[in-house]
Symmetry: C2
Subunit: 357 residues, 2 copies
């Protein structure tokens, strides 16, 4: 025996032990007609018992796809490790995928261009059957690439500025771009926050936002502006940052130093919101008496400060799971669809209070 147990089992081993042909085994194991129920069962049991699993490489080569989905993350866009959002998303994605025997190929790249290159490579190397796209941007170069490759994808978050257009379907080359979307209604969520603050008497609200090129940043910014007009707020504006703690603190310090300062600040990043608590304390401002603070995306961070941070809560694991399920549907030949996932909702905690007189 050259290398006995290491040698991986093949369909041929199963066929020999079952006393049938290789194709019979293939048919039996893939639930296709052409083999009697009795032998099908026998073959199945044998395969199970021996711990046989099809070689994905062989299946991929035979045209079955790689049973793998790609996820590429550009850390220039939203810094990894900022909150648990991304990791939770991955957990959800993983759950849905492994349920169906699919693998998740994960890659971190520097920016959008590298991300496009990564898709091309994954595709050219036959590594993935489809991809999950996060952080959709305005004028996102990735969709051209996906269209060119004919690579099925699900966008997590919405593709477009207004959630009604579905670029995916309006693509001119019809049918080649197979992109589903799973989105959350950030605009309504922002409106909910603003309304809540408005009811508490707040008229000066600042939104410390993420990067301008992100589609969801735009939706939040527009929603704030819209609500501000509707409610006649004195001051309501968004300040673009790169999600970093530093820029968040800088923006916070800057607005708190204004002659008439805001009474409430909404942060797109939980890290920034937490850091802002420190900045406010240093200015001798009490949260929530002098200043109300809200963090987008709840995390353990928000719950560990005193006061605890009011935050937008959503089922991020479920979000990821749903996105992966949509991709699997697409790979099964389903149509590209746009579905809304549960809207994030505001959980008011100690950091929100009535506006100071």
């Amino acid at each position: 025996m050259p290398r006995p147990p290491t040698q991986r089992l093949t369909i041929r081993d199963i066929a020999q032990r079952a006393g049938v042909s290789e194709s019979a085994v293939s048919l039996a194991l893939n639930d296709r007609p052409g083999v009697s129920p009795a032998t099908r069962e026998r073959i199945r049991r044998l395969a199970d018992q021996l711990g046989w699993r099809p070689s994905v490489a062989a299946r991929a080569l035979a045209g079955e796809g790689s049973a793998t989905v790609g996820l590429v993350f550009a850390r220039s866009i939203s810094p990894l490790g900022v909150s648990s959002f991304f990791l939770q998303l991955m957990v959800g994605i993983q759950e849905a995928l492994s349920h169906r025997g699919f693998g998740l190929l994960f890659q971190v790249v520097d920016g959008p261009d590298a991300e496009c290159a990564a898709y091309r490579r994954m595709w050219a190397e036959h590594r993935v059957d489809g991809v999950l796209v996060v952080d959709p941007r305005l004028d996102d170069p990735r969709f051209e690439v996906l269209a060119e490759l004919g690579l099925p994808a699900v966008v997590i978050g919405a593709l477009t500025r207004s959630t009604n257009e579905t670029e995916a379907e309006s693509e001119s080359d019809g049918g080649r771009l197979r992109v589903s979307q799973v989105w959350a209604d950030d605009a309504r969520a922002m409106a909910e926050i603003v309304d809540h603050l408005h009811e508490l008497g707040h008229r000066r609200i600042v939104h410390i936002a993420g990067p301008a090129e992100l589609a969801h940043t735009q939706r939040r910014v527009q929603s704030l502006r819209h609500e501000a007009e509707r409610l006649g707020l004195v001051d309501a504006r968004s300040i673009i940052t790169d999600y970093s703690e530093d820029e968040g603190v800088a923006a916070t310090v800057s607005v708190l130093a204004e002659r008439v300062r805001p009474t409430a600040i909404v942060y797109d990043s939980d890290v920034q919101a937490v850091a802002a608590l420190g900045a406010a304390a240093e200015r001798r401002l009490s949260v929530p008496d002098d200043l109300s603070v809200v963090a987008w995306d709840d995390s353990v961070l928000c719950r560990s400060t005193r006061p605890r941070l009011a935050a937008l809560v959503r089922d991020t694991v479920g979000f990821g799971r749903r996105a992966a399920e949509e991709l699997l549907d697409l790979l099964d030949g389903g149509p590209a669809v746009t579905t809304e996932f549960d809207r994030p909702h505001l959980v008011p905690r100690g950091s929100i209070g009535p506006a100071p007189a």
Copy 2:
């Protein structure tokens, strides 16, 4: 043209356009002798220009391996999203892997048994050439499986309780278990913390630890005990928790309620350390005047509290990168090695002060 640009390029396309045989292309692209420098260059340029990439499926089937590495995470062991540690590790791993054209297959499972099953499956399906193992445990069932499969692996953190034994090499079936280790000297790091606190006058130190089954928990616990004996501390003990915020707070509340309470607490989890700040505040204890607090593994959490949390800092991205590089070496046929990565070092911040009188 049935489906023109979607059709992926093959080695045959390159061969035709270059006017050579397929094997010539293969040899040229894989840097093997048997083709003239001129044609090699020509073939290379052509492949580059056309954007050709080898099908990993085909290569894997032809015996070249899948150029993919697996990473399985059991969330029952240390909850995901607790700190940015894991994500940073992945970023580092990714960097090293993509540098060499390797992919990272990521999977989340429920516990150790599911993790073993995941390795078996990845291996049987020809999905991975090797794996990275995190959170090594005492009596870890995973290494038996790795040995049985002959699956090369790198353990992140040390395999054994005392870092001198290298089980990897002492395996009886000699050579089949190809496991390298990259470890950090947690014992020395703990000693450093204890010494620092001791110098500040602390004699009662409590360590709120992670799960007992983790090898690094044991090393920290033992180190604390050892240092306590050496320095003659009055009270020094470790309390095992599951890393959760709840158990951390419970343990904190419990020790702070004792008649003679500790003057310093070291937390294995940054989340617990931050939460403890709240618990201390509720008991009207001032940090650091009444209580010093240290968090293992620094994170943005530790820097956003007031006072900022003293923490053990290390280059987690670099740690991941190194581990991945060790695995690549192993896959290149290198020997299994045990290497130490930079020891975490204590960064004292506002949460550490002299022991109260």
